[in-house]
């Protein structure tokens, strides 16, 4: 799957690209509007990560050009601006998602996965990894043929770890992913531990071999061979 990263901050673009490449994505990195327009004209991407403030213009113009050419590439705006008007304008122009800097790479990866899932045609809502079968349309999880009955939080947690499999996901990223905007009001990560314990228990009961590892109190990692 091909991803175009349009980001003028090289160090950030490189981190994104490195992180995503571990996930069988092919990443291309451009740093200005001009080269971005050239790329989207010649190629199709599964997902485009678009920074709005570019040195030679507004990233939204790239989005406009894309929609004018009837391209259906998924677009996630990554921006330092988080005003409601900024979001609305981006989404009205046809962006699929809007992520405010600073963000966790694991969160970005989860959003990309979601955008790609939504844009793909039927039959592909099934995610298979690490001995688990997740139907992202029906939001169900099976271990082999054995269904596991998960709560909403547990399901979100599992899907998050699955889309970021084989990488360490920090507890901050998980907390933010699970509690949305409410995160930040608390600095207690014990609730993640509680969710994780329940999730593991339910999956193991359904016959799963535990692939989730705690990494030195830093975060968690789901290992899928």
């Amino acid at each position: 799957m091909k991803i175009l990263i349009i980001e003028d901050e090289k160090a950030l673009g490189q981190s994104i690209s490195d992180y995503l490449q571990a996930e069988a994505y092919t990443c291309e990195l451009v740093a200005d509007k001009h080269s971005a327009l050239q790329r989207i004209e010649s190629f199709d991407y599964d997902c485009i990560l678009l920074d709005i403030s570019l040195p030679d213009g507004n990233g939204l113009q790239v989005l406009k050009a894309l929609r004018e050419n009837n391209k259906t590439d998924g677009v996630i705006i990554i921006s330092a601006r988080d005003g409601i008007e900024d979001r609305i304008r981006g989404l009205q122009l046809g962006a699929d998602d809007y992520l405010v800097k600073p963000f966790h790479l694991s969160e970005l990866s989860a959003r990309i996965a979601a955008v790609i899932r939504r844009r793909r045609f039927s039959g592909t809502s099934i995610l298979e990894a690490a001995g688990l079968t997740v139907d992202t349309a029906a939001r169900t999880v099976r271990v082999g043929n054995q269904p596991a009955d998960l709560t909403r939080s547990e399901y979100d947690l599992l899907l998050y770890l699955l889309t970021n499999r084989n990488r360490v996901v920090s507890k901050h990223a998980i907390a933010e992913h699970l509690s949305g905007d409410g995160e930040g009001l608390f600095d207690n990560y014990d609730f993640i531990y509680a969710h994780m314990k329940n999730l593991k228990k339910k999956l193991i009961q359904a016959g799963w071999t535990d692939h989730i590892k705690a990494v030195y109190g830093m975060g968690y990692k789901l290992e899928a061979p």
Binding site: L12, S15, L105, S106, F186
Partner: protein
């Protein structure tokens, strides 16, 4: 003391002194004038009498001529002296000596002073009344004039009191015909404009700085996450990365909080909707359930009023989120939270530290009352700024071990 009264006071004392001095002086001067008048008329009477008395000289046998009241003519044993004028017992007397037929006569003409005294008295009274009337009139006129003249000053004062540096419009003062006030107004307007400009640029700076910080923060966080993926990773390295991640997380939160404050101050939440505090509070309490359960807190809700308000739903969520999360964060393990809504007042109470917070400090930026190092000290300032924006009033109280935060939403 008001400036008006101060000047009036001086006028008043001056009037008293003037009255005290003027009335005796006036009396004295009047007395002198009256006396000299009487004397003149006595001398005139004498001058008129002399020819008539000369008749006696022509006809020695004739009887003394009929004399007016107050005029006496007697033979005097002494030799003639010069005329004399003196006052005796309410009369003014002119004594003159004349020689008729080798005999010395003493001519006395007297004039009653009583009438004149009365006249002087009346004049003095009239004069005093006039003076007093004049002075009081003067005072009254001065007062009303001063009030009118000072009106622009008071208007300026009123406007200055109401003026807030974050008002979108610059300070506009009514023009004044008086040059001093005109100068004052223009100086004040300039001052207000300067502080408004520096406030605006400070606000702009806060917003720009917050935005500009986001990209390096994103780089930092991204690199940190890449660092987490490196292998092999020792426990020591992981601990270091973990601490960096905590710091990065705090920076992000701080950045968000500052930006939110700036936004509220900039009035960038123009969207208002009819929302219910009860509904939002319940929704948030459900969302915080893991944290509440974690601390073993007991939540009591008491809603007599759904508390409908017209405000930005986002800000209501931020407002309640801050109050409720504070009540959770600063609570004791196994403590209690009471959320009450009645008569337009929302009260969030919680158990916590056993002494009251300093009310004058809790709304200040970064004033931390808690030992919780992660607490940003921005939460209550955000609460107050939101309340300011919608004209709500926020109050803190401490009673029987409970910390109470009240938001009065209806006045």
């Amino acid at each position: 003391m008001k400036l008006l009264n101060k000047t009036l006071q001086y006028y008043f004392w001056l009037s008293i002194v003037l009255l005290m001095v003027a009335i005796p002086v006036f009396y004295y001067v009047l007395q002198r004038i009256v006396l000299s008048n009487i004397d003149a008329s006595l001398v005139a009477t004498k001058t008129q009498l002399i020819p008539r008395l000369r008749v006696m000289e022509m006809e020695p046998e004739a009887l003394q001529p009929q004399l007016d009241d107050g005029v006496t003519l007697e033979k005097a044993p002494r030799r003639p002296e010069s005329d004399s004028l003196y006052t005796s017992d309410k009369y003014r007397l002119l004594t003159s000596y004349l020689v008729i037929n080798q005999e010395t006569y003493r001519l006395q003409i007297k004039s009653s002073l009583a009438d004149h005294q009365r006249l002087i008295g009346s004049i003095i009274i009239l004069q005093s009344v006039l003076l007093i009337l004049l002075l009081t009139g003067l005072l009254l006129i001065n007062q009303s004039l001063a009030k009118r003249i000072w009106k622009p000053f008071y208007q300026t004062l009123r406007k200055l009191r109401a003026y807030k540096v974050d008002d979108p419009a610059p300070l506009q003062l009514a023009p004044s015909g008086i040059s001093e006030f005109g100068e004052l107004n223009s100086a004040v307007e300039q001052l207000a404009e300067r502080s408004r400009q520096s406030y605006l640029s400070q606000k702009e700076f806060a917003e720009n700085a917050s935005h500009e910080l986001r990209t390096p923060l994103a780089v930092f966080q991204g690199k940190l996450e890449m660092l987490m993926q490196t292998t092999p990773l020792s426990e020591e390295q992981a601990a270091l990365i973990s601490e960096l991640a905590d710091a990065s997380h705090r920076m992000t939160r701080l950045n968000k909080g500052l930006l939110l404050l700036t936004r509220i101050q900039n009035g960038q939440f123009p969207d208002t909707a009819a929302v219910f505090v009860r509904e939002t509070a319940r929704h948030l309490l459900a969302q915080y359930e893991p944290q509440i359960a974690q601390k073993g807190l007991k939540v009591e809700e008491d809603w007599l009023d759904e508390l409908p308000v017209n405000m930005s739903p986002n800000l209501l969520e931020v407002l309640l989120g801050n109050l409720l999360s504070n009540a959770i964060r600063h609570n004791l393990p196994g403590g209690k939270i009471v959320v009450k809504g009645a008569n337009g007042v929302l009260t969030v109470s919680n158990t916590g530290q056993a002494y009251p917070l300093q009310e004058d400090r809790i709304y200040q930026r970064f004033a931390k009352n808690s030992k919780d190092a992660e607490s940003l000290g921005l939460g209550l300032e955000i609460v107050r700024k939101i309340c300011d924006l919608y004209g709500f009033e926020v109050k803190y109280g401490w009673e029987k071990g409970m910390h109470n935060f009240q938001v009065i939403m209806k006045s």
